[in-house]
């Protein structure tokens, strides 16, 4: 029912982003589109719906047909009734203030008779279990709930084709699981065809039955069952920066280590268990990514000391009684459920918002007594949106800026700038405008500009948001270098697998206070109430052989 033959798509004044894409997708299939960033996955998604080239300007050649017809020539309403798109950003998918109004808007668009609207709306909300929010303002919902409302809208339309463009990438682990299982119920319907694009595959592998792999030019390089594709193309995919599902990645390591081979790699936890059962537990354990060892207690004085800090918006307490210290050379992750106040805590730590109670000492000085430029000298702060921080016209000027502000001599500036350009792999684009860079490059630049002056603390808000595996690894490589040079690095994240492998220490916010502050191993060893903190154990942890798991509980 989705048929593409030799489809090439090019945006105006650019090289084709998709080149001779051919595939046939039958009714009821659940297909994963895989490929490095820039391989045209989203472009294909838009083309299947027909929005491209109907409203997004692009040149499409070749044959593309949905239900035997070119989607671009269908009317907007007809196309929407057949194929619906779910996007990644929960904030920009709505145009009305409340849930009810948004659903009504959707159904009115499709000319659903007024007397049927109520019933279809209620049915859709029942399906997503969001009925209690029918009169809620969409702004007041969490990211996960917004995404569920977006799914409700599509469910109300009830199209045959669901195109999901990274539906989980901006959600916290608990919401990811909820939305993924919701989508899984649609996938289970044999009348529905799903086309899904997603970076982190652990949740969606449960219901995906076919994978199409695109290369950098947007050509199909493999097509078939995911388990086989990860086996045959795993190395290529990893080299291109595509995340493999963790069971597949570990399976690949295990095969390499034991020099054995199998026809297919495991893609879900269940498959992993049968797969790993053939090998001795100790070998299996060795092939898994290991958590970092807790760092040695530092002998140096702390760079940041938080004492009994509390913060409230009006009368609503965000957190209270938060005390901890950061030491030089520490790699720390700050975790917690969506909306628990991680970003607010970061604001308080960096002197943006004064704490309601308690003290924050930076290198022994009360932050309240410091001037903004003194704070800026101590903290490097990387915001979620890298663009917010760019001030100049080129990458090079951007890196020089901080040093010029501090009045370095030209020789030192040139030396340090070149060093940073190499370290952050930005040399080849030094003359480009910061806004033109790719997501990964922007992120690296936003970190690079923050380490130009010798701040002792680096704080990053969701630094891996929207990055593929290669960029994530590259980013953490430089963060690790910063840490080794004696900076205290603190990052906010939802990604527990990242915490497990990259952080040495974990701070967890839950129930309005600091619920955990210790090494990463102890955080995940089963004695910490992760449910209460609102996070899920990392998949890697669940993959450890049973005996070993039992051992660690004892």
């Amino acid at each position: 029912m989705i048929y593409a033959d030799n489809v090439t798509i090019a945006y105006p004044f650019a090289e084709p982003s998709v080149e001779s894409f051919s595939a046939e997708i039958r009714t009821g299939e659940n297909v994963l589109l895989l490929g490095p960033s820039g391989s045209g996955k989203s472009t294909i998604a838009l083309a299947i719906q027909g929005i491209l080239p109907r409203s997004v300007e692009a040149e499409v050649s070749g044959i593309l047909s949905i239900f035997g017809e070119n989607p671009a020539v269908k009317s907007i309403t007809e196309a929407a009734g057949q194929a619906a798109l779910l996007f990644q950003d929960p904030d920009t998918q709505f145009c009305m203030p409340t849930v009810r109004e948004e659903l009504v808007f959707t159904l009115e668009n499709l000319r659903v008779p007024a007397e049927e609207i109520e019933a279809r709306m209620l049915e859709a909300l029942q399906f997503t279990d969001m009925l209690r929010c029918i009169d809620a303002r969409i702004d007041t919902l969490s990211g996960g709930m917004k995404q569920k409302i977006a799914v409700s809208c599509l469910a109300a339309v009830n199209p045959q084709i669901w195109i999901l463009d990274e539906p989980l990438s901006q959600l916290d682990p608990v919401s990811r699981e909820a939305v993924a299982s919701l989508l899984g119920r649609i996938a289970a319907d044999s009348d529905k065809t799903l086309v899904v694009i997603e970076h982190q595959l652990n949740e969606v592998m449960e219901w995906v039955d076919r994978a199409i792999v695109l290369n950098r030019q947007g050509q199909v390089s493999a097509d078939g069952s995911p388990a086989r594709i990860f086996n045959s193309h795993g190395d290529v995919l990893e080299a291109e920066g595509v995340w493999l599902p963790l069971p597949a990645e570990a399976g690949k390591n295990l095969l390499k280590k034991t020099e054995t081979s199998k026809a297919a790699l495991p893609i879900t936890l269940r498959q992993w268990e049968t797969f790993a059962a053939d090998y001795p537990a100790a070998t299996v354990l060795e092939s898994l990514p290991q958590p970092k060892k807790a760092s040695e207690p530092s002998l140096q004085p702390s760079v940041l000391e938080v004492k009994q800090a509390a913060f409230a918006y009006g009368t609503q307490t965000v957190f209270e009684n938060v005390s901890f210290s950061l030491y030089p050379g520490e790699m720390t992750a700050l975790v917690g459920a969506n909306g628990v106040g991680k970003s607010t805590l970061a604001r308080v730590l960096t002197g943006w918002e004064p704490p309601k109670n308690g003290y924050i000492y930076v290198n022994g000085q009360d932050i309240a007594s410091l001037k903004p430029y003194e704070i800026a000298k101590t903290f490097g702060i990387v915001f979620q949106q890298p663009e917010h921080q760019f001030l100049t016209q080129t990458v090079e000027k951007e890196i020089r800026y901080g040093m010029e502000m501090e009045g370095w001599c030209e020789e030192d500036i040139i030396h340090k700038t070149n060093e940073l350009l190499i370290q952050f792999q930005l040399g080849h684009i030094r003359r480009n405008h910061p806004f033109q860079l790719s997501q990964g490059e922007k992120r690296r630049l936003s970190v690079a500009v923050m380490v130009t002056n010798n701040q002792s603390i680096l704080i990053l808000d969701e630094p891996t948001f929207g990055l593929d595996k290669r960029n994530t690894d590259a980013l953490f490589e430089v963060l690790e270098q910063c840490r080794r040079r004696g900076k205290a690095v603190l990052w906010l994240t939802h990604d527990m697998d990242l915490v497990y492998t990259k952080a040495a220490r974990v701070l967890a916010l839950a129930e309005r206070t600091l619920a955990y502050d210790d090494g990463v191993e102890a955080f995940f060893n089963g004695n910490t109430d992760l449910e209460k903190i609102g996070v899920r154990p990392p998949v890697v942890q669940l993959m450890r052989p049973k005996e070993e798991k039992a051992g660690s509980y004892a």
Binding site: F94, M96, N109, E374, H388, F435
Partner: protein, 252 residues
Amino acid sequence: MLEELQTRNAFLQHVHPTLKLLSLFTVFFCMIFVYDIWRPLAVLLLTVAVVAFLGKVPLKLLLGLLLPFALFGFSFVWLQVVFPEERGSTVLFYVFHMPVALENIQTGVSLGLRAMVYASWSLLFVLTTSPVSLVMSLIQKWHMPPSIGYGMMAAYRFLPQLREELAVIRRARQIRGMGKKPKVREWKEMAVPLMAGAVRKAERTALAMESKGFDGSRQRTRYVQMNYKKMDVWFTAGFILFITVIFLLPMS
């Protein structure tokens, strides 16, 4: 807060938004020809009373919102007294050898009250009309194209997001700029990331709306019919009476 007021179960909130809008324009127009003190004062007091009682808006809040306009209105009095076009002959008293004439005070107070009337009627409209019902009414009754109406709704949702984003951009730049407070000139530069973000958001929203089948045409079903009701007859009757008594009768 505002939404809660706009959707309260009170008379004014149930009046059809187009009628309220029409009445607003009528009052604005009629006030142009009024130069005395008593009629603007009567209109002002009446409006405040109507908003407070028929719109169930707390009087304290209403007066609080009118306060800045009162200061603005007073500036007219001051202007008329200090820089009159023509100094009146009925000098009441002197301030630092400057004669203060009754006629000038009267003109000033009249102008000041006119400003307050404009403000109070605007508040009547804003505090009792939800944006959704306004847009729906305009689309259904005044033939506003749905593409503009729903576009406005989407933009309305963005406003709080943009404000939050601007605060973040300011802070991010302050950190980069070694703690310097942004100067006026730099506000212009901040607009670049803000606009880049806004354009991207708007594009995404447009795509999402289209994928939900929105084609901007008038061919759509109507779940809520914005029809005129009995309340609207009462409102119209009351309004005509009010205009007649205050503006039309004194002229004849």
